[in-house]
């Protein structure tokens, strides 16, 4: 569950915290697309460095590192799979770095964007408010579910469950006693929340008004412009199969 720590919003006043969520989303989307399109170690290292700078600006390096620690098993799995397939350390490093870059992109975006702002930006982009609300709720409940996972895990450990023991298949099966209670509790909570929302007249008026609205500042436009340029560049290089040294050669 440590892995989820790096995707949980932390309040802050940094430049990146104050930037418009739409602009931030575009930028993180651009990074993600680049990491998916170009599998080149040097290029990924460059994106990675930029991400570190962003995380440092948001003062959330610690949380990000913590989530990275939680992802170590997956990273090892990727390295092992790459070594097995290609027997090359470069490709093992490249693919694991690509994974880190993609998760870090989501990480800095979610670490510095409050769920409320996220929902607001979705709505302002034109999504129906029901859907944006559901989206906000989903993010809002990640830490709750993660906490619940921990308590269920504790309860089952007290009943003698030892996840560390047994073969790979046995270990996976051992997750059943943890996942089932978490699922049931989550579904039950969903119904409760739905009721609680209904008694507070959710959806009574089809058109909702907002107390706060998001406004793009010049710096937000600049971020968006950079992101769009990066995206266009990525798509062009990819579609027309243009080879550029250090990016895709």
């Amino acid at each position: 569950m440590m892995a989820l720590e790096g995707f949980r919003f932390r309040r802050g006043e940094s430049f990146i915290h104050r930037s418009d969520p739409r602009a931030k989303f575009l930028l993180s989307f651009a990074f993600m697309m680049m990491a998916i399109a170009f599998v080149k170690l040097e290029f990924l290292l460059l994106i990675f460095t930029i991400q570190i700078a962003i995380l440092a600006n948001g003062r959330c390096l610690k949380d990000w590192l913590r989530s990275l620690k939680g992802l170590i098993p997956l990273i090892i799995l990727i390295i092992a799979a790459q070594l097995l397939v290609s027997w090359s350390w470069v490709s093992a490093a490249t693919y694991s770095l690509r994974f880190v870059v993609i998760t870090s992109t989501m990480s800095w975006f979610l670490l510095t964007t409050s769920p409320d702002d996220l929902g607001l930006s979705l709505e302002q982009v034109g999504l129906p408010s029901d859907i944006s609300f559901a989206f906000t709720m989903a993010i809002r409940f990640v830490p709750v579910i993660s906490q619940e996972f921990q308590s269920v895990y504790d309860a089952q450990r007290s009943r003698g469950l030892e996840l560390e023991k047994g073969s790979f298949i046995q270990r996976i099966r051992k997750y059943v006693p943890i996942i089932v209670p978490v699922f049931i509790e989550t579904i039950r909570r969903t119904y409760e929340i739905a009721d609680a929302m209904e008694v507070r007249a959710f959806g009574a008026k089809p058109k909702r008004t907002r107390l706060n609205t998001l406004i793009m500042r010049p710096s937000d436009w600049a971020i968006s412009l950079i992101a769009v340029l990066l995206l266009v560049g990525t798509v062009c290089l990819y579609l027309f199969n243009i080879k550029v040294p250090l990016i895709n050669v």
Binding site: V152, D154, A155, R157, S158, R159, L161, P177, I184, E185
Partner: protein, 271 residues
């Protein structure tokens, strides 16, 4: 037989909150202890340390003189069983029977079906044997949660908030149930806000406040010390301030119950 001891235990959560600040106490085999205190006093943290789920940041928790740092949760749980506040947090099996068998299988018991039968009988849940744990009532769920642990007969039982959400008859049933457990020579440690329940089931009370033990002793002494109770944000049983007004200075365990208190009140009325 098991002995639980905390030696100057400190525990800090990752976000920097000191939940326990130098707690020392010893729970002898067969004792019935109520751990009480305001919300956030560190009660749950303390019993999680007893069970090895948490390891002390500083100091030591010893189970039969062995530090919890050196043994796994499963090893400790075999001796010191723990029942969590929300029974739903542990149910996953399709039937009540299977739910009880889970722990037994983990600990490698051979006589599983016999133990399941015993646990079902003990918790008066025989007729739900084949039902889903989720179909039980709140009180039954709590009893099942306790039965799932009792099945492997740990020497001590830690129960977090046994009376939450229970109606009167369920509480009465639970109190008898806990006394039964204790009469089998087991140590029982409960966390509760319910002073009447604690008075009925326990002989010793430990009061925690802001991570420190502020009171530890016979339950009647603790409950009749109104200043101490207030400092831990607890309301004493109603009978205590009443008897205090009637001039009672020394409290006995019996005085926390209706029968003995009644005699005193009648005497006072005659005067």
């Amino acid at each position: 037989m098991v002995e639980i001891e905390a030696k100057d235990v400190w525990y800090s959560y990752r976000h920097g909150i000191d939940a326990l600040r130098g707690v020392s106490l010893k729970i002898e085999s067969g004792e019935r202890v109520a751990i009480m205190g305001e919300n956030g006093a560190g009660k749950t943290t303390l019993i999680k340390l007893f069970n090895g789920l948490l390891k002390p940041t500083k100091g030591e928790v010893l189970i039969d003189k062995i530090s919890t740092r050196n043994i796994s949760v499963a090893q400790i749980s075999r001796k010191v069983g723990m029942v969590f506040q929300k029974p739903e947090n542990q149910f996953f099996a399709e039937t009540v029977e299977e739910e009880i068998a889970f722990g037994l299988r983990n600990f490698g018991f051979k006589d599983i079906s016999k133990r399941v039968d015993e646990a079902l009988a003990f918790a008066s849940l025989e007729r739900y044997r084949g039902k889903s744990p989720f179909s039980l009532s709140g009180g039954e769920k709590k009893r099942l949660a306790i039965a799932t642990v009792m099945a492997w007969e740990p020497d001590a039982l830690l129960i977090d908030e046994p009376t939450i959400g229970q109606d009167l008859s369920q509480k009465v049933h639970l109190a008898t149930f806990l006394r039964d457990i204790s009469s089998r020579g087991k140590t029982v440690v409960i966390i509760t806000h319910d002073v009447d329940f604690a008075a009925e089931t326990c002989e010793r009370a430990v009061l925690l406040s802001k991570g420190v033990v502020v009171g530890d002793g016979k339950i009647e002494q603790i409950f009749s010390n109104l200043e101490l109770m207030e400092s831990a944000s607890l309301l004493p049983p109603m009978i205590v301030p009443l008897l205090r007004r009637l001039g009672v200075k020394e409290f006995t365990k019996g005085l926390l119950g209706i029968d003995e208190a009644e005699k005193l009140i009648v005497q006072a009325a005659k005067r």
